[in-house]
Symmetry: D4
Subunit: 194 residues, 8 copies
């Protein structure tokens, strides 16, 4: 009977709409941590469909306390078993020196950054003796940075040990992913050595 | 001549691949702050193409210090002039009580959370007297939460005053956006009052 | 030989064109009773193709004597074995109070509605002591109304007992069907209680 | 700014979802009255899109008190200005004699039809001295029937005089509409007379 | 090796281009005899692809000496085993009386038709005592005409006995084929008799 | 109003279905005379749509008395103003010698062809002293044959003088049309002479 | 896990980008030698996809020392096992006499061609007593030329004996390939001889 | 009339099929000189359609005497006005040292290469004192090689001075073209220097 088919569709919609309340995990049990850059087609690059994975994105795709919070929640409560980090070439975090960034922020704040509230909904949050430049997290080398974020996540106490962590660099110049350190574009322009 | 057409294409690719170094902003000068939930088609919901906007996503689409860092960088250095916040119904941040979350994290950490490093690449970061529950940022009402995130961003010192901030709630049950508080689904089931 | 293929197609067309005379039932042996609202894609919502089902539609998707007539004919003479009722949110039958409707009709009739012929091709039809408001059948709550229509059909003498009757509410705000009373949109905006 | 575009889309959805409450008419200000037969692609045959027209459908596409109720509501309260009646060839209302239909219904009711409640939600409804066969409304000639339904609607008190009413016969054997009485298929098989 | 694939394609082209010289029959071993009317999609109506069938077409789809010549050649020399005749409604051969046609031709010839050469490349061809009207072959009833053409072909000495001959009438008003005499459109407009 | 749009469609269908009775000519006022070969996509080769042209086809695309009959009817009564003849390479009319064809037909007829009725519906038709081979019309050279058919049609008394006649050879080996005598394939294989 | 799928894609890209360094042959182990004419869709004509074959193209598709160099490299070092030669009709190498070509080149060089450096990056290259006309390699007959190029490649010392060599002529007038000498277009215009 | 349209199509085909004999140049008056590598989609990379350009391809995309011959013919006789050179990364000409290549060829020839005929259809061709390694033309740096080929063509006596010559490197790792020396992939991985 037709109503059986319709009932199944109604049920499927309910599963989608109340997925979190019903305790249904993402389809791939995956969290992606990526840069917020506008040129990164995160889902297409990793072959993901809607529903497959949660996607954390911030400036630089760096592991911050917010990444730890988000990753801890999904791995401990939503059955997520895998994390993939995606950094990328020509990242904005490489496009200026530390000094220039700090000066620019001070200009905006109209003075020293010491008194600026870093987290407006958690004013108690403080970076102690660390410098604002450390908090901003500019990057020197994108492949090294990618490997470092993987290590931070693998080692953290709030993330279960059996969570797999992998990192890739997305090349905006080619639209392709590479493993950190494997810069194929640099290897194909000159004569092979004997 | 054909080479003029090819040269234009070569130049266009260079603009894309070195956009940040060349100081080219996103096409819509827009930053989106959204939840990392796997059911939110951020780009489709807002009508965005690759290149249009940077997309920050974390657990809950909440304004954290990482959001402030990312938003401060793009509004001060990359010519971003607009921020859109996207929260959503059936958010995982509403699917458990505070106590249950704290207990779960303690179980993972194997004890008290006091000694856990919240930010592995910035160990100086500290939340002082705030509770871990505050840091986790569970949500009571999604429409109120959305409005609050907009206010945090509008008021912050590191974000220029002329940046526009708007918030929407994405309904996973309908695949539609609403303005915070405008729950149309609640208004269409009963008799209109005289 | 080709003519065998052509003959089969000629026969198939004859079956379609003289289906009722030949006693061929609908493909799904289904009658749908739905509201006549312009926003209800009845066939698409139920996954029906041309030929699958007869579709009764009136103002409100209410069970009237015309519904009984139509349903009695198809279940007794055309082998229909299933009825699905589809009501919907924001129905026009909920958009005004009884008094306003009666007044509007009286204005059109230019006086009392007592002498108006309710059925121009069956002038004997009469509603006795019932009020015009009852005949108009405005609705207070769409989910309750849907359940009531299902009950009317299940219990009627002219409809065979083994006919299955099911009801759904189509949400114009989401483009989705729900079972009466299962308002998922109302359940996903606030914190889950412990 | 992008939020202006999104706001417009949010508003458009609200107009769709609360169309009736907001007093927005159908896009073509049209009511279609058609047979419930499964072979009639009403929207395609008339070139209508979702939102264009309300569609009343019953057994035979006959003007009953339910049609009058539905048409009176939409022409008086929803700004509908046009009615199109669609009857069709091989209608089930032509596939049996009156006696056979009455006998079949009596068999189902287990006796005389005199005590059967014709309208379960309006038990006061009564057809007085009219016979059940009249209530069932079988059809002798589809073109004449179509013209008659148009006349019933044009003349009814509850339907404003300036509402346009037009009728067509849908040919299931050709998938085409004709005007009542214009049976082109009957005119093209023999020699033209001098 | 690639050249084997290319060689096969070269061979296939040769089979197509020299099909008749190589003695390869049509793919369906079929000859269609149809009217030359511009509204008859012969191939689509019979479900034929290029290469499937030879298609003879003349004014009226009538069996003339040219049809016999063409059919005799293909059934005796090209392995054709089936003939399908396609006549159609609203044929031009029914659109005028005999007298009008003869008069029109005489007007064109500028006098009597007796001396007109009927076949410019075979001047010896003569119709003896037959009238020009007989040669023109106007039609009184398209279904009878279709059946007659089938009989002419079935009975002819130059066409092998085991050739199958079938006839259809193509309805320009419905875009459908019917078997001669089976006018479904005439049977679906009125009440079924008891 | 919607019924105006529907009325226009109803009218358009009537024009199509009763085109000949209403005296509406083909859209291009064109008659094509082509071979019945299964490899000739007549409409595609000439860029014709359904409704554009009448298409006469027989064995060889030769001008017979049936062609004259058909062409006289359409040019004198249906406003046709142009005739295009399409012959083709590898025609079956070139694939055997005269003797072989006559012998084959005699074998089928079981004796001399003298007593065979050439036209079953016009038994008076006679070819006098002409031989059966002349009636069969085998072809020696396709380009010359094409030019000859054009001349026959241009010169015939029953075809108005202002009718344009053009001929083409369709190459089955290339899928292209050529003008008679312009065999481009023969001209591109060797060195251009000085 | 998703990263396994991504790793496979990363590896596949590396295989493509460093195919030659990794010693991966073309997908079909094929070298095509063809004319550089703008009308030859080499890949489409042979059914080749990107990656399938190396394609050598020069004026005329003639076997020069550069062809030998290129073919020797790919057959000895890149595992190529098959060579296909594609010449074509209306080749520019047939469109002028030897004298005209030599005169034209002398005009460009501003005098005798004796002192012109034939190879700017290998000035030692010399054609000895051969004439410039021989170096230019004009063509008399395209089918003979094609067969000759096949022979040159089959017999050359630097090309392994087990390499298969095949030749085709591409007909620009038909868009089809033929084997050298098999000019089907020349065989289908006249009567088959007994 | 339809035959005018058909005549135009016949003429257009003749222009295509006899383009060279009629002295019609390529659509873009362009010669491309590219490597024969199977991974280079020459037409797609340059945005070329069939008919736009002649495409010379050899091992390495190097300027040899065959390139000079081909380029001299097209620029002096076929109105070509532009040359584009396309080299590419991971070229086979960079995948082995000179010694390895010479040894491999000697192994194939079964001894010294001194007596090998370099050009089988022009046995007089000789490279004098140049080494076989020079004739093979291996490459050290692809960007430098590309610039050199452009210079060779710009300076050659047999190529008119007003011919434009441009060079690009196609990156097989990104599917993009670059100008020689502009290796964007090498510039986007590290911190911008102050």
């Amino acid at each position: 009977a037709v109503h059986e088919r319709v009932d199944a569709a109604v049920e499927e919609r309910d599963d989608w709409a109340r997925r979190r309340r019903k305790g249904i995990p993402t389809d791939e049990r995956l969290l992606v941590v990526a840069c917020m850059d506008e040129r990164i087609p995160v889902e297409a690059a990793l072959g993901l469909e809607l529903g497959d994975a949660q996607v954390y994105r911030n400036a630089g795709g760096k592991v911050t306390d917010d990444v730890i919070r988000s990753a801890a929640l999904t791995t401990n409560f939503f059955e997520t078993e895998e994390i993939i980090v995606v950094n990328h070439t020509d990242c904005g975090m490489m496009s200026a020196p530390d000094d220039a960034v700090v000066e620019g922020l001070e200009a905006q704040a109209g003075g020293s950054l010491d008194d600026v509230e870093l987290d407006p909904s958690l004013p108690e949050l403080d970076i102690g003796d660390a410098s604002i430049a450390e908090w901003v997290r500019m990057t020197d080398d994108i492949d090294e940075a990618c490997a470092a974020q993987v290590a931070y996540l693998e080692d953290h106490e709030l993330i279960p040990d059996d969570v797999t962590v992998t990192g890739y660099v997305y090349e905006v110049e080619s639209g392709e992913l590479r493993r950190p350190g494997e810069r194929v574009a640099a290897q194909v322009n000159e004569r092979v050595e004997e």
